[in-house]
Amino acid sequence: MKNRLKVLRAERDWTQAKLAEELDVSRQTINAIETGKFEPHLPLAFKVARLFDVLIEDVFQDEVNS
């Protein structure tokens, strides 16, 4: 699964630590999602979409369909 978390974060000029604070997770989690090592569960994925005010599929894309 691909994601645009790093792009969305960069658009707001946020650090990983700042995004981690906003999502109430560790900075390690943000880094692991951005590097594709970890795929978040649905509640966190929805939280990300809500935070950036976008659809969940605007953040996370299934590589099979892309």
Binding site: T29, A32, L44
Partner: protein, 142 residues
């Protein structure tokens, strides 16, 4: 200096995790003390009285379950990735513990070792494997 909303939120999450961890430490210390009481009390304190020994063992068991319950609180306070790292480390420790534990026990049965296998050796192995698993997980997901 006035705290921002973000700082307050982070401190709340941080505090929640710290409180859960502190609970495990307190339950763990109580369990260690109760284990020492159940192990040495019968000989040193109450001369193998059945009632006192039963109470000591029951207390030790109850505190042990309390410690497990407190650890569950720590897991629930973690985020998804931290919980995954814990799951992988605990799975590794359990697997190694079972496989090596059975082989270790077998060694005495087939006369490859002359001493009786100790449960404490197994607990040390499980503990070290768990720590190694945490190290591997944190390194992989850093």
């Amino acid at each position: 200096m006035k705290k921002t909303n973000t700082e307050t939120k982070t401190n709340k999450a941080y505090s929640k995790g710290r409180v859960s961890e502190a609970k495990v430490v307190y339950w763990g210390l109580a369990w260690v003390l109760a284990t020492a009481g159940a192990a040495f009390g019968p000989e040193l304190l109450w001369g193998y009285g059945t009632l006192m020994t039963s109470v000591a063992v029951a207390t030790q068991l109850a505190l042990g379950f309390g410690m497990i319950w407190a650890f569950k609180g720590v897991l629930l306070a973690m985020d998804d990735l931290q919980r995954l790292i814990q799951l992988e480390a605990i799975s590794l420790a359990l697997g190694v513990g079972i496989v090596v534990g059975i082989s270790y026990e077998l060694l005495e049965d087939v006369k490859l070792i002359t001493f009786e296998p100790e449960i404490s050796h197994l607990i040390i192995l499980i503990g070290l494997t768990y720590l190694f698993g945490l190290f591997l997980g944190n390194r992989h997901y850093r």
